[in-house]
């Protein structure tokens, strides 16, 4: 009896144990993964750790673009219990239009979509409102939002980002892969109240690389302010300014007008309005290009600044056309005067001596017709026809800056060659990448140092009395070299040059050891007031003055202000590269420089080069000339150049170098 009962008890125990074993088998083996997943879902949270996009700083560490964390709200429309109620709740919490939101939810639900952004980049208060709802079908996603704290400042340079924080222009686009961070993920073990107990880093976040630009914020602001003022004052269409360090190629400021605010998303059709005019919009440079012509002449011919150039009295007959200088025609003048007065005929004469192959070679050497390699998207290389495509008058046109298109950055690089002693540098805009200083590329010598110094000397004549840049481009306390340019804009439709101009000025200071190169361009100016010396030179003056002050460049001249009467008189002087072409002959020059002041009637300037200071002063005293000496040693540079006629009361500045 007892054995039977024991047997039954044992059987029950075996069955019980078997049942437990089967259950354990089910839990631990058969459905192990499901239950582990279930447990993880209950106990663990996947928390995304945002990796902010790299900040863009100016050269002094002032942020120009930065990302701050924000949140976005999304729902799974298929899990929303009541679309009508949901749209009411969400529209109240997120300040949205209820009907519009209901439509979106309905559409997403009808199309069986399991994900719908309700609102991106919400405010902190909106986030709190949604969080307080405590509804499990409303999800909040951490994101970051790009901000440009200076608004439109340097917008054309910085570019902007789209809604996914992907760069779509400017630096944001060029360095998108570096700026963009990789978000991390952490698995958080929570208790029943969803409080974190422990966390395990599954993927470490990698913040975007911060970039430090060569831009100087204050200088950028002044450049943008001045170009905006000038464009409005001269009713131009657009404008640009580039400030560059000629020694290492650093872009200190790059302004483009019209501006835009990168904080605002681009509107349809607005793409062209967001162009970087300094980099992407080429134009015919006009007389500023004469610097290249004369540099090539100094390098390849026996022409010197004092070499006589026949300006044919202001009229030059070429095969098929007649070219006039716009101002009262000059006869035979020193080559330096050709530049100072911006004589088109003189420049053509010089260009003819250089010849087509060598002119083409030097234009290419100065970097025209090719991109500068600046780290920005959508750069234009300008246009320079191949030598084989040059027409019979192409050399004449190019000698005075037509039949060629350039960008403001290309002009800045070309001016830097003269300013730094003959080295072609690659402009760059990245100062530091992730805290590591970026080494500038090695420059290439394209002209001899003496050629560059001679060109500096001649370019100084442009801003001295009698020059086309006088007096607006002069800087108090600093010597300046520069060149004005006023090119008529060619209308492709009518095949004629119009009476709107590209007014430009490129210059550098101080002359003996240039610290900055500034190039100003205004596109679409009108009348004589829109010429380079009238419209662009004042911008150069303001920007260069501020740049030299900000960069703490020591003055090299005593301050002197020209007499007001002289200022008023010189204000009318400018150069002009006009080409009213016939309908069948595009890009043919007919006219030359604008009519300027009356010819000076003073004595000619002697050549002081190589003389000691004592000899210079003795020679000048013998001729009744006033000398403004600078430096010590032997005379290396003088202004006005030798052979030019002195204005009444004009002084000769001579720079001595040991």
């Amino acid at each position: 009896m007892i054995e039977r009962r024991l047997t039954i008890l044992a059987a029950i125990l075996v069955l019980w144990g078997g049942a437990i074993f089967v259950k354990l088998l089910s839990l631990q083996v058969l459905h192990h993964r499901e239950y582990v997943q279930l447990a993880h879902n209950r106990e663990e949270l996947d928390v995304a750790i945002p990796a902010p996009r790299g900040t863009i700083f100016d050269r002094h560490g002032q942020p120009l673009a930065m990302s701050v964390p924000t949140e976005s709200v999304y729902v799974n429309p298929l899990k929303v219990p009541d679309l009508d109620v949901a749209s009411t709740i969400l529209s109240l919490a997120l300040h949205m239009d209820r009907q519009e939101l209901f439509g979106k939810l309905k559409w997403a639900s009808d199309t069986q979509r399991g994900f719908l952004w309700v609102k991106r980049k919400i405010t902190f208060e909106e986030g709190q409102s949604v969080r307080n709802l405590r509804l499990d079908w409303i999800q909040i996603q951490s994101e970051s939002q790009r901000h440009y704290p200076n608004g439109a400042l340097a917008a054309a340079l910085l570019g902007s980002v789209d809604f996914e924080e992907k760069g779509n222009a400017g630096i944001e686009r060029s360095f998108d892969s570096e700026l963009r961070g990789k978000p991390g993920r952490v698995r958080l073990l929570t208790d029943v109240n969803r409080r974190g107990i422990d966390s395990q880093m599954e993927m470490a976040p990698h913040a975007g690389t911060p970039l430090t630009l060569t831009i100087e914020e204050r200088l950028q602001f002044v450049a943008e302010r001045e170009i905006a003022t000038a464009v409005k004052a001269h009713e131009a269409l657009s404008g640009s300014v580039v400030v560059m360090n000629p020694q290492n190629g650093e872009i200190l400021a790059m302004a483009s007008y019209p501006p835009y605010d990168p904080n605002d998303p681009p509107q349809p059709g607005e793409k062209s309005a967001r162009q970087n005019h300094a980099l992407s919009v080429p134009f015919e440079p006009g007389s500023v290009f004469k610097v290249i012509t004369l540099s090539a002449a100094l390098e390849t011919t026996s022409l010197r600044p004092e070499s006589p150039i026949d300006c044919h009295g202001g009229v030059l007959r070429l095969p098929g056309r007649v070219i006039h200088d716009s101002h009262i025609g000059m006869g035979v003048v020193p080559m330096a005067t050709v530049l100072a007065k911006s004589s088109n005929i003189g420049a053509i004469e010089v260009g003819m001596r250089v010849g087509q192959p060598r002119m083409y070679d030097y234009v290419r050497k100065f970097g025209f017709g090719q991109k500068t390699g600046l780290e920005l998207p959508a750069e234009s290389g300008g246009k320079l026809r191949k030598l084989g495509q040059w027409g019979t008058t192409s050399l004449a046109s190019i000698s005075m800056g037509q039949e060629v298109s350039v960008t403001t950055v290309q002009l800045a690089r070309a001016a830097s060659v003269i300013a730094n002693g003959g080295l072609l540098i690659k402009p760059h805009i990245i100062f530091k990448r992730g805290g590591q200083a970026v080494q500038p590329p090695v420059p290439i010598r394209i002209v001899k140092p003496e050629t560059a110094i001679t060109m500096r000397q001649m370019m100084e004549g442009v801003v001295l009395p009698g020059g086309t840049g006088y007096p607006r481009a002069r800087l108090e306390g600093y010597s300046v070299g520069g060149k004005t340019g006023s090119a008529q804009i060619y209308d492709v439709a009518s095949r004629h040059y119009t009476h709107t101009y590209n007014g430009s000025f490129m210059g550098f200071a101080p002359l003996t050891n240039p610290a900055i190169v500034v190039v100003v361009t205004l596109n679409g100016t009108h009348g004589t007031a829109g010429f380079g010396g009238q419209a662009a030179a004042p911008v150069f003056h303001a920007v260069a003055t501020e740049a030299l002050r900000v960069m703490d460049v020591p003055r090299d001249l005593p301050d002197q202000t020209p007499p007001p009467a002289q200022l008023a008189k010189k204000a009318e002087v400018d150069d002009l590269s006009i080409a009213d072409i016939g309908s069948d002959q595009p890009n043919i020059l007919e006219e030359g420089d604008e009519e300027g002041e009356t010819a000076p009637a003073g004595p000619r300037v002697p050549n002081f080069r190589g003389m000691t200071m004592r000899a210079v002063l003795a020679t000048a005293a013998a001729q009744g000339l006033t000398i403004v000496p600078g430096g010590s040693g032997v005379a290396r540079m003088q202004s006005p150049p030798a052979g030019s006629l002195l204005h009444e009361g004009e002084r000769i500045r001579v720079q001595f170098v040991r």
């Binding site: 002032q62 990302s67 964390p69 200076n150 302010r225 030299l548």
Partner: protein
């Protein structure tokens, strides 16, 4: 304690030795060992008096040491359990603190970024220029900027 034999013995006792002329007491003396009868039951219980006054606790050193051993073992187990469990509990508590601090760190980093943005917005050049103009401040001309020469004695300026 009342037992069935005791009960039977008690119930039989009056019939076996019944005194003939014993005067009936006015009130029967209550048997101190007889308990109150159960209502409606003919069952009586008696309590049995056990006199343990003669019993003397005998000294048992082995039992005492066994007792102390048991107490010690229990204490040891308790200490071991505490030693094993305490780190885990402390780990959990510190985990709470750590995660709380991490969340606080993330919040503060985010807040710092927002503050940096606000600072940058306050320092924007156009705003500074507007403020400067409002206070009649102007950019100094080149001849107005005087750089003081560094002096070895620490003087920053010298009146000439």
């Amino acid at each position: 304690m009342a037992t069935v034999p005791a009960y039977l013995k008690k119930t039989d006792e009056p019939a076996a030795a019944l005194p003939v002329h014993r005067p009936a007491p006015v009130r029967a003396e209550r048997n101190p060992y007889r308990l109150r009868a159960l209502p409606h039951e003919d069952v009586f219980f008696y309590s049995k008096k056990i006199d343990n006054s003669r019993l003397v606790r005998e000294a048992d050193p082995r039992g005492r040491s066994a007792c102390w051993s048991a107490i010690g073992a229990a204490g040891l187990v308790l200490v071991l359990l505490t030693g094993v469990l305490a780190p885990s509990v402390a780990n959990t508590l510190e985990g709470y603190k750590l995660e709380s601090l991490r969340a606080e760190q993330r919040r503060l980093l985010n807040e710092r970024q927002v503050l940096q943005l606000q600072e940058a917005e306050l320092l924007r050049p156009d705003r500074l220029e507007t403020l400067a103009k409002r206070q009649d401040l102007v950019t100094p001309a080149t001849d107005q900027v005087v750089h003081l020469e560094e002096k070895g004695d620490g003087a920053v300026a010298m009146v000439k």
